[in-house]
């Protein structure tokens, strides 16, 4: 028997048929709002590709992004790292330590030149190169070096995407985002503090299947996950529309699930998929427990006033774009075979002007 090389073969060894892969692909195309007709192509794409080499760099971070990834329900973290990708460097998870760990990173870069994906969590301090180092190297230098020959860089979490907590006023360490360091490699931003696990795994599956980055919004985030505001899809929205608001965290309205707007909910100005994907296998999500949305996927949300201060009344939420679009299938970038796609083409696709419809940065 030949050695298993592709994801399809790895899965087959585990006794997982193409049908199961089709089920997974149906779910990813669903959460990524791709047309359902792409399901089979996605399943095929995943099955035919070699496990993708992934290098995860941690800068000024708290490890919640990694923790969040391990909470992914589909695919699960073990499926991900055993069957879908080869996680060749990840300080919090990898077995190797010290210089052996660094060697693993360099080897993965060499073996998979122009074909590996770099995931970054945490911001990068520029105030002094000694503010954050790994193996004696400044975070900024390691990131530049590793990103140079990557297929794409995925910035996960609000620190890597916008600078996040370290960048909050007065930004003591001069923290910046990944996009301020990485210049010539396409970047996908998956914001959130931390991001929803399925937003990370879904995006990876897309890159894996199509060798292409998904359609992004004006902030470089996959539109599939960041195209709607929390408020657009919030189950408490009917209460908002009827003017029924909880006035304290434990009053009658709070217990009945009334709208949290007056308690400071930032749902109307926050773009993320919590309301639809929910958290931890659908167990709940922040608004559902009874605390307003903190707005954690938006740039500089730490510095936009208290989490408990109601948004100004003038913040008019957008109407929900309903069924029609979804039924008809949302147009997505044209498919291309993985082999035919070069980084240049990906870059070209990226720099295309984005549809401005959702650029509702209303604050």
């Amino acid at each position: 028997m030949t050695e298993p090389q592709t994801v399809g073969e790895m899965l087959a060894r585990k006794g997982i048929s193409r049908r199961a892969l089709l089920r997974y692909a149906a779910w990813v195309t669903s959460i990524m709002a791709l047309p359902s007709s792409m399901t089979r192509a996605m399943a095929q794409g995943i099955a035919d590709t070699k496990r993708m080499s992934v290098i995860w760099l941690s800068c000024q971070e708290c490890t919640a992004c990694t923790e969040s990834l391990t909470r992914s329900y589909s695919p699960t973290i073990d499926d991900l790292i055993f069957d879908f990708i080869s996680l060749d460097y990840h300080e919090a998870l990898q077995a190797a330590a010290g210089h052996q760990a660094e060697e693993a990173r360099l080897k993965a870069m060499e073996d998979n030149k122009d074909n590996y994906v770099v995931i970054v969590d945490g911001s990068i301090p520029l105030g002094n190169m000694g503010y954050s180092t790994v193996a004696g190297h400044a975070n900024a230098d390691v990131l530049r070096e590793t990103a140079e020959h990557a297929l794409a860089v995925v910035a996960v979490g609000s620190c890597a995407t916008w600078g996040g907590l370290p960048k909050a006023d007065p930004n003591p360490t001069g923290a910046v985002s990944v996009s301020q360091i990485v210049r010539n490699t396409p970047i996908i931003n998956i914001s959130g503090c931390p991001p929803i696990p399925e937003a990370m795994t879904g995006t990876l599956a897309h890159v894996l299947a199509f060798g292409q980055i998904p359609e992004l919004d004006h902030l470089g985030r996959p539109r599939a996950f960041f195209g709607n505001s929390i408020h657009d899809r919030c189950y408490r929205r009917p209460f908002y529309d009827k003017g029924l608001f909880a006035k304290s965290f434990d009053d009658e309205g709070a217990r009945k699930g009334w709208c949290l707007y007056e308690l400071g909910c930032k749902g109307p100005v926050t773009y993320n998929a919590c309301a639809t994907l929910k958290w931890n296998g659908g167990a709940s999500w922040p608004v559902q427990t009874g605390h307003g949305c903190l707005g954690c996927s938006e740039p500089d949300f730490w510095d936009r006033g208290s989490f408990y201060k109601p948004l100004p009344a003038s913040t008019e939420p957008l109407a929900t774009p309903l069924a029609a679009g979804a039924v008809a299938g949302v147009a997505a970038g044209a498919l291309a075979s993985r082999a035919a796609k070069t980084r240049r083409e990906i870059l070209g696709a990226m720099s295309k002007p984005k549809d401005a419809a959702d650029t509702t940065d209303k604050t």
């Binding site: 699960t76 996680l87 077995a95 931390p194 217990r255 208290s306 408990y308």
Partner: protein, 582 residues
């Protein structure tokens, strides 16, 4: 002539840790230096913010022990303002915190620590049938068939044969320090995979009460999880909130899932692994001083005697020396920066109490890229906290010691049982493996308490008490002009305190002194050594200098959490950066 060994990055931890050690001629570690290599300046960021917002910032200190900083933060505000919270809020916080223990400790053992003892490559040589017999001989856990272990083996084999080893690449496999037979290795690898699936399920408890995990919500004055008694009728088919009778039943199920895994997998595995490494009960003692802040209140009276974990210190391994602590006393807790990359306005050689904490970045280490730190000078972003000038160890071993010192029956029973099973004297706990075993034993204690707290919550709801939040002091205008307080949590990694000074409704000073800072800090002005360094200097000989397995074993026994440990006090003096570059 001594030889310098560097491990950076120390992997399978939270955050960025580097150690440099000197070996003497015999290959023994003669000196060890532990360095936190990343700083964010969180406490500086907190200055002038709304104290009610602080929990969300503080929680981002760490995403692994994801809720302890949120909890310490809301408690600091409540302590400063004398703000009582409803009994249900105590119960919910206890449940969330205990769940954090169970989740954190299990993940630490399997995903961060196990590979120091378990050789993944050797698991390929195991016979699944013999593995099944081994598993059944130590536990009644239902997943123990030969097929189950064969599946796990196939997965690892798949990685090896594909030539892409991923997270298992380039490790110390085959090192002579690995002593488990292939079957025990395979059993542990199977449980490594099992625990990955298990942990995803059990954090649902945090999602139900806090909306998500990592980083669930907290709220000053109680909990942001109003209890809806009859969601469907009152809301026309929508769920009211995620806490209701149905989901509390799910919490019950989660607790059962946790308990089963701890009792039938985690604890037996830990003792089984330990039995092959008994010499690791003879090295890696820390400083011999232990401290706990105490936690898990059973009512809102603040009566410390009802706390599950006591508050106090034990010095010099002397269980009779147990004495209480006062965290508001400037003589007791201080932070020192003599060898850290910070400076104090009145000189770096004095210690400051957290209320008066101040710090300026003063990085004078080598500019990267560098190969060695100047360990004779300043060498870390961690400060060094001291209790009455002495280094203390905090964490699972410290809790075990204060429990034994205060005569906790269950802890005594579990500890003596384990020691008897392993045929070891009580001094064995002061060691690398003692720390690892104490962690497993206390997990059992926490998981046993959870049903009782949930019962109490159900009983309160049945009696009509739905209250989870005390809104009386919500508006900052009701607060005094100046207030100081400390919020403590006995966190999985040890004693955690957040000190806050509130002036005119805003944060005037915020200082977090966290477990890993206690354990991993650099030397102090008197040359006093913290627990990590002391443990590495206790009887460690490297079998292979290029593969310092021994070093990471002992470091991992502390469960390092570096993002937690590195922080900066907010103080007027600190607004301007003061960077001097060597």
């Amino acid at each position: 002539m001594s030889e310098r060994i560097v491990v950076d990055p120390v992997t399978r931890i939270e955050g960025h840790l580097r150690v440099e050690v000197n070996l003497d001629e015999t290959g023994k570690i003669s000196d060890a230096y532990s360095s936190g290599t990343s700083v964010r300046g969180l406490e500086l960021i907190l200055k002038d913010r709304d104290p009610r917002d602080a929990w969300a910032f503080a929680q981002r200190i760490c995403g692994v022990c994801t809720l302890v900083h949120g909890l310490a933060s809301v408690r600091s505000v409540e302590d400063a303002l004398g703000w009582e919270i409803p009994p249900n809020a105590h119960l919910i916080r206890n449940l969330m915190s205990a769940a954090q223990y169970v989740h954190d400790h299990v993940m630490h053992f399997y995903h961060l620590h196990a590979l120091d003892w378990v050789d993944v490559v050797s698991a390929l040589d195991a016979d699944p049938k013999a593995t099944s017999e081994l598993a059944q001989s130590i536990s009644t856990y239902s997943k123990s068939s030969p097929g189950y272990f064969a599946d796990a083996q196939t997965r690892v084999k798949g990685l090896v044969e594909s030539g892409q080893l991923g997270i298992f690449a380039n490790a110390y496999w085959g090192h002579e320090g690995y002593r488990l037979p292939p079957e025990a290795n395979l059993m542990a690898v199977a449980h490594y995979l099992e625990a990955l699936a298990w942990q995803r399920e059990v954090v649902r408890l945090h999602a139900i009460f806090g909306g998500k995990n990592p980083h669930p919500n907290f709220l000053v004055g109680g909990c942001a999880s109003p209890i809806s008694t009859d969601p469907s009728a009152s809301t026309g088919g929508f769920d009211g909130t995620s806490v209701n009778v149905t989901t509390l039943q799910q919490v019950r199920d989660v607790i059962a899932t946790m308990r089963e895994f701890v009792e039938r997998v985690y604890l037996p595995d830990t003792l089984a692994v330990a039995s092959f490494y008994k010499d690791w009960f003879r090295r890696g003692e820390g400083v011999g001083n232990f401290m706990t802040y105490g936690d898990f209140p059973l009512d809102s009276s603040g009566d410390r005697s009802s706390w599950m974990v006591p508050a106090g210190v034990v010095t010099n391994r002397d269980l009779g020396s147990f004495q209480p602590i006062d965290l508001n006393d400037p003589e007791q807790v201080t932070e020192n920066v003599a060898r850290a990359w910070y400076s104090y306005s009145d000189g770096d050689d004095i210690g400051l109490h957290p209320y008066d904490g101040q710090t300026k970045f003063a990085y004078d280490g080598p500019q990267p890229p560098y190969t060695h730190l100047d360990v004779e000078s300043n060498y870390s972003w961690l400060k060094s906290p001291r209790w009455r000038g002495q280094p203390m160890e905090v964490g699972p071993l410290a809790r075990m010691v204060t429990w034994l010192a205060t005569g906790n029956e269950r802890a005594t029973e579990l500890a003596t049982g384990a020691l008897r099973q392993l045929d070891l004297p009580v001094e064995a706990i002061y060691s690398t493996m003692g720390r690892t075993a104490a962690r497993a034993l206390e997990t059992q204690m926490f998981v046993e308490q959870m049903d009782g707290w949930l019962d109490a919550l159900f009983a309160n709801i049945a009696a009509g008490d739905l209250s989870v939040h005390n809104a009386k002091m919500w508006e900052p205008r009701t607060w005094p002009k100046l207030a100081k307080g400390v919020g403590t949590v006995e966190a999985p990694r040890g004693a955690l305190g957040h000190w806050i000074v509130i002036r005119d409704g805003k944060i005037d000073n915020y200082q977090a002194v966290v477990p890993t800072t206690w354990n991993a800090g650099p030397r102090d002005a008197d040359g006093g050594i913290s627990a990590y360094e002391a443990a590495l200097m206790d009887n460690h000989e490297l079998a292979e200098r290029d593969k310092p397995l021994e070093i990471i074993r002992t470091l991992h026994s502390f469960d390092p959490c570096l993002a937690c440990a590195v922080h900066v006090a907010g103080d007027d003096d600190t607004q301007g950066l003061d960077i001097s570059i060597k």
